[in-house]
């Protein structure tokens, strides 16, 4: 009885105490800010989506937010985009560019990152520093030297798609370019992640008899799935959405050009066909969305839990 009687005034007091207000503010303000940021970030995308379903004439005269009055929807933009004869080829090209251009830098990056993080070799830190420096180099700077190397030294030209010497794989120049552009970041991200793994694990594995490669494949890789998944998403999105690099290295040849080049060709320089860009943008978004959603479950927090703490 005494306990209950004593407890009551405290709860009443607690309800009006500043601590309670702080808690409320913390909870709701945090949510409001997060939701606000999300909405603000998504608004243009939503506008794009709405516009893609509106008739071209209407989009020129009124904003997308008036779409409900009058309600006029059409699939014309989508049928126009999908109706292009070479869309299938472009889609296929995009895959043939994006998948290897993701796998190559992530794989090489993982091996390199392991050596930077856990192996001792001369000038290791200097090389790593140089690598981080490369992150700051704008890729436009590399177009002329790399292209002249491709054309003048290797004689890979866009007019001869078999020039790489590998029949059926005219995307090799693009793979190499994307791998090169993606590697510094791959190595940097993975090396930092690997470095954060507890050294006891490696020492234990060493005593248990695991060699360098075994440690890499049986311990580092399984523990680095979250880092690898995010890196794959980054790199895949970057390559899939890339227009510039594809245009520079393989030009507009429809046999090799990825989706982005194909879609960019829809509009003329005079702005003709700009209505198609809205639906084209959404169409090209499908694959990255699938990639993101399917890899999302690998972002497991606390994957290291239970390994080295008491």
């Amino acid at each position: 009885m005494t306990v209950a009687a004593a407890a009551q005034p405290t709860t009443v007091a607690a309800r009006f105490s500043p601590g309670w207000i702080t808690q409320l503010l913390q909870r709701y303000i945090l949510h409001i800010v997060v939701i606000g940021l999300t909405v603000g970030w998504m608004l243009p995308t939503i506008g794009l989506l709405v516009s893609s379903f509106r008739p071209f004439a209407l989009t020129k005269t009124s904003g997308w937010w008036t779409a409900l009055t009058p309600l006029q929807f059409t699939f014309q933009n989508y049928t126009d985009v999908l109706g292009q004869s070479n869309l299938g080829q472009a889609f296929f090209n995009s895959f043939m560019v994006s998948v290897p251009a993701t796998v190559i830098p992530v794989t090489i990056g993982a091996f390199a990152a392991y050596s930077f993080a856990w192996m001792k070799f001369p000038a290791r830190n200097w090389i790593f520093l140089a690598l981080v420096g490369l992150l700051a180099v704008p890729l436009q700077l590399t177009f002329v030297p790399v292209l002249s190397f491709y054309v003048n030294t290797l004689h890979w030209t866009t007019s001869d798609l078999e020039a790489t010497g590998i029949p059926g794989l005219p995307w090799v120049p693009l793979w190499l370019a994307h791998a090169g552009y993606g590697l510094p970041f791959s190595i940097y991200l993975l090396a930092n992640f690997f470095r954060a793994l507890p050294s006891d694990l490696f020492e234990s594995a060493e005593i248990d008899g695991a060699g360098t490669l075994t440690v890499f494949f049986r311990i580092i890789l399984p523990l680095s799935v979250p880092a690898l998944a995010s890196l794959v998403i980054f790199q895949f999105l970057w390559v899939w959405n890339d227009l510039l690099v594809a245009l520079i290295y393989v030009g507009g040849a429809p046999e090799v050009a990825p989706l982005t080049v194909n879609l960019a060709d829809l509009t003329t320089s005079l702005g003709q066909g700009s209505n198609l860009l809205t639906s084209a943008a959404f169409f090209s978004m499908v694959v990255p969305l699938i990639v993101f959603l399917s890899l999302q479950r690998y972002f497991v927090r606390g994957i290291l839990a239970g390994s080295v703490k008491g």
């Binding site: 507890p198 006891d200 694990l201 020492e203 234990s204 594995a205 060493e206 005593i207 248990d208 008899g209 695991a210 075994t214 049986r218 311990i219 399984p222 523990l223 606390g302 994957i303 290291l304 839990a305 239970g306 390994s307 080295v308 703490k309 008491g310």
Partner: protein, 352 residues
């Protein structure tokens, strides 16, 4: 099963950073040897050199008759339990224990037999399918032990394996480790900073400080006959009382009392050491009595600790709990001179 020998072992990182200085220890076959010392004393480095995780700057380490200085860690036939356990978080308990055997390309049936055997010894059967994160600290610790056991190594290395456990579990595990040592009949080398662990578990204890081995001996040896001031102060709780004295012949004169020494020493300055239990509430037969101005009294039921001043020195006494003392009193205490120690003021080495 093998003896381990540290023969003039030195570990130097740079010219002026030497963490292990001329270490010489002979660890016998099947012995439970504890390396103990304050943090940074080089005990872990000594263990890691034996494990093959650190190179040996000078000297030799032998396992059995084999010099292992240039043998890779995996070929030394040792197993190590880490302070952090270092379990592989993405593998089940079973796979964690099977990992070292897989690395040896052992046959499936033999591997299974060994893992199940270790799991039975350690009571891990219900958890074999679980991941480390689903285990308690004590269970993780046993998995780490299991991973060491399955290999049936020549030498077990344990680097502070109990320090991540809570006090109660630590006590239990201490006993289990001793049982395990008896069952496995293998050499154990155990590193700890905790002198209680060292005293309770070790067949012998090697005490290190600042990279230098101070003393090797049985727990009784190092407790009753510390080789120097450091060992005397490090082993035993509460710590030994140290009082500066002037000696002449066979008496030591402190600021507040005089003690009869069991043998005569050269006249000069020194440090007199006596454990709290060397003080009793009965007068000493040889007249080595002292008066303590009591500041604090701690009653623990089985014991009673008195903290106070004798002359100008701080002294702790462990006396009969029935003795009636209150803070502020002056207690008449007798010093049992059979168990006192005298240390040289300069070298800090023990005369006795």
């Amino acid at each position: 099963m093998a003896a381990v020998t540290y023969d003039h072992v030195v570990k130097r990182y740079t010219a002026d950073v030497t963490v292990v200085k001329d270490l010489n220890v002979d660890i016998k076959d099947k012995e439970f040897m504890v390396l103990v010392g304050p943090s940074g004393c080089g005990k872990s480095t000594a263990l890691r050199m034996l494990a093959g995780l650190e190179s040996i700057t000078e000297g030799q380490i032998r396992i059995g008759d084999r010099v292992v200085n240039n043998v890779a860690a995996k070929d030394r036939d040792i197993a190590m339990v880490f302070q952090s356990y270092a379990l592989y978080p993405h593998m089940s308990v079973y796979d964690n224990m099977a990992f070292p055997l897989q690395m040896q390309h052992m046959k499936k049936e033999e591997m299974d037999k060994r893992v199940r055997n270790a799991s039975k010894i350690l009571g891990l059967d219900p958890f074999l399918k679980r991941k480390p994160r689903a285990l308690s600290g004590g269970q993780r610790q046993r998995v780490a032990l299991g991973r060491a056991i399955v290999r049936s190594p020549k030498v077990f290395l344990l680097d502070e394996p109990l320090s991540n456990l809570d006090a109660k579990l630590r006590g239990q595990t201490r006993i289990e480790l001793q049982k395990l040592h008896r069952e496995l009949e293998t050499t154990f080398i155990y590193v700890t900073h905790d002198q209680v662990e060292a005293m309770t578990m070790g067949d012998r204890i090697a005490i290190m400080n600042a990279g230098i081995l101070q003393q090797v001996g049985t727990p009784g040896d190092v407790y009753d006959h510390p080789a120097n001031l450091f060992v005397a102060g490090f082993i035993g709780t509460p710590t030994m009382n140290f009082v500066p004295v002037t000696t002449s012949d066979s008496t030591a004169k402190a600021s507040g009392f005089e003690a009869k020494l069991p043998k005569s020493v050269p006249a000069g300055k020194g440090t007199l050491g006596f454990r709290p239990e060397a003080l009793t509430d009965r007068p000493s037969a040889d007249g080595s009595n002292l008066q303590m101005k009591v500041d604090v009294v701690e009653r623990l039921g089985s014991d009673q600790y008195l903290y106070g001043q004798v002359g100008s020195d701080q002294v702790t006494a462990r006396v009969d709990p029935r003795m009636k003392v209150a803070p502020g009193d002056t207690a008449q205490l007798g010093l049992d001179t059979r168990s006192i120690h005298l240390f040289d003021a300069e070298s800090e080495a023990a005369f006795f």
